[in-house]
Amino acid sequence: MLLRARLTTQASIPTASMADIAFLLIIFFMVTITFEVDKTQVSLPKTQLRYEVPKKAAYVSIDQDGRLRVSSGEEMSALVPGVEDVLSFAAGVVASDPSKAFVIKADTETEYRHVDQVIDALKRAKVEVIYMLSVQETIDTVGG
């Protein structure tokens, strides 16, 4: 009597494509990574409309107490004593790149006069476009 040969299955997990998946993930992170040039802790205003800020945009941050920090988008932001320093900084940035976008990163509770002075300085420096950084307003926050 002939007995059927017993089938033996090799117990192995196919890992050949794991490196491919891992490298795809690496490429994703490398493409999407943005290095934060300003780490000022602010509570941003909420808006329903939000437009993408251009990469390497210059930053002016205003915290709740009105302290100002500036960054050209290439290096970490630095504290500046007054709004006149923002004007000279912005004028220098615009002189090297007239189409450079500026981002105002201000705390939602900061007094408007601080923002007004910064906007005025940016206008005087002939900045072409200003972004006011915000976070997404959700249906919950709209409904209250």
């Binding site: 993930l25 992170f29 990574i33 993408e52 408007y112 072409e128 972004y131 950084l133």
Partner: protein, 145 residues
């Protein structure tokens, strides 16, 4: 006499590649910070040698009080009714500028709320984009007073 031939493997060792790749992934995951990189944009008006003289009466003036409430053309108005108020005025004259004038002690967020609402005017029933003007205190002092 017996000769032993040494065998040299012609394979590239790739077993550690996945480990290296995962280490890199972990590095990127740890260092990536999901920051807010979006916001409302506005373009300040270009320098003009002969800027048009806009009378207060030819425009809609939105004042933001220090508590964040709105006064539109001398009348208190909730933010939710702003577009409805603007509709008939802008239908008659779509070029009518809407001036936002926050109180210096008003919260910045209140101005952004108004700007956000006006920028959505077309989606909320207005025929044209609202011509928003955000003069600074220095410009107001120089032009109006």
């Amino acid at each position: 006499m017996k000769f032993s031939r040494s065998k040299v493997s012609d394979e590239i060792p790739t077993s550690s590649m996945a480990d290296i790749a995962f280490l890199l992934i972990i590095y990127f995951m740890v260092t990536t910070t999901f920051t807010a990189t979006r916001g409302l944009d506005f373009a300040p008006p270009k320098e003009d040698d002969n800027p048009p003289i806009i009378e207060k009466e030819d425009s809609v003036l939105i004042e933001i009080r220090s508590d964040g409430s709105l006064v539109v053309d001398q009348r208190p108005l909730p933010l939710g009714e702003l577009i409805e108020y603007l509709k008939p005025k802008l239908e008659r004259n779509p070029e009518k500028p809407v001036i936002i004038r926050p109180d210096p002690s008003a919260p910045y967020g209140a101005m952004v709320d108004v700007m956000d609402e006006l920028r959505q005017g077309k989606e909320k029933g207005l025929k044209e984009e609202v011509r928003i003007s955000l003069p600074t205190q220095r410009e107001i002092d120089a032009l109006w007073f």
